[in-house]
Symmetry: C2
DNA sequence: GGCAGGTTACTCGGATAGCGATTGTCCGAGTTGATCTGG
DNA sequence: CCAGATCAACTCGGACAATCGCTATCCGAGTAACCTGCC
């Protein structure tokens, strides 16, 4: 089981946008430049974020993407769901109702116990992800990034937004 | 993100084998018959369980598969790992070290905060799965399966093992 | 000098190929149990 | 009647296609700013 590679890009991109001054937008081209990623594919990722209402887009000169909400109100889970979809990891195909021992019209009061166990674990995962906000990610970045890098980033931001 | 379909088959198959009398074995052919699954593909799943030491195999007439350990000692996580692999769902490619703002030789004391958050959630998922044993699954099945089905299953077992 | 129209450059968005992993299948290798034969 | 060898059937195990989803890319649609010429 592997998460989409785009998830990593999306979270980093959103984290970058979290530092964007009010009212400004960051084009996909610039984000791709900042992380040295293929522009065309990143654009697709950003589009998915746009569809999921995590960012809004604006076309034309001075356009680009920006977050729709405060970084406090966006969780990792939101981003993961936007990129990777919201379907259950474990798909129950009701195997128990098949084969010679089970009749098709049997009444089962509960979902399959195996599915319930798998879904419970999945829920724990989702729950952890929903507890981490984009603001938390941003703060971690500020605290843990080496100083020279941080200064370079600020410089890059100034140049880009001018 | 989707879990291998084989995981569901594997757990059901193991649950079935948990009810197998001491010393006997269940061939893949019979398991496929019980659940009405394609025999060839199920054989592949069983093979993966065999490689991971969850079941042992025995060839020839009277051969088949059986659990290596007591159902108490086998967790859902063991089976998931056997079929789906043990790699991390979230792969960190160290994006933060790329692009114009980061120098390649920069020293980062900690793994990327994003990766840490994702891995923590993943750990919660693994932890939940490791808490559920095959015995638990078996017991749930006994309690929740409609009586007529349970009797049919017992009947099938008798015929098959004779 | 101010305003309107056209032009240009910039950005997003959807349609379109390429590739790798999961899914699905087959046949050969190995083993066991039964059978047959000879003592 | 028993023991040993042979045989045949059964089961696993690895090698081999097909399909699907993720990865990657391009070009057209839309928009805002700017420039130019006229009033």
């Amino acid at each position: 089981m592997r998460l989409n590679e785009g998830v990593e890009w999306a979270v980093h991109s959103c984290s970058l946008m979290a530092s964007l001054p009010e009212g400004m937008a960051l084009p996909a081209r610039k984000i791709a430049e900042y992380f040295d990623l293929p522009e065309a594919y990143l654009a697709k990722i950003m589009q998915q974020l746009s569809v999921s209402q995590i960012v809004t887009s604006r076309r034309g000169p001075g356009g680009g993407y920006r977050l729709t909400k405060s970084p406090d109100e966006i969780s990792l889970l939101d981003i993961v769901v936007a990129i990777d979809g919201n379907e259950q990891c474990f798909q129950c195909t009701e195997i128990r109702r098949r084969g010679p021992t089970a009749s098709t019209d049997a009444i089962y009061n509960l979902p399959c116990g195996i599915a319930r166990s798998m879904w419970k674990a999945e829920q724990a995962w989702r729950n952890e992800l929903s507890k981490v906000s984009l603001r938390d990610i941003q703060m971690m970045g500020f605290r843990e990034t080496p100083k020279p890098q941080l200064e370079k980033a600020v410089e890059w931001f100034k140049e880009t937004l001018s």
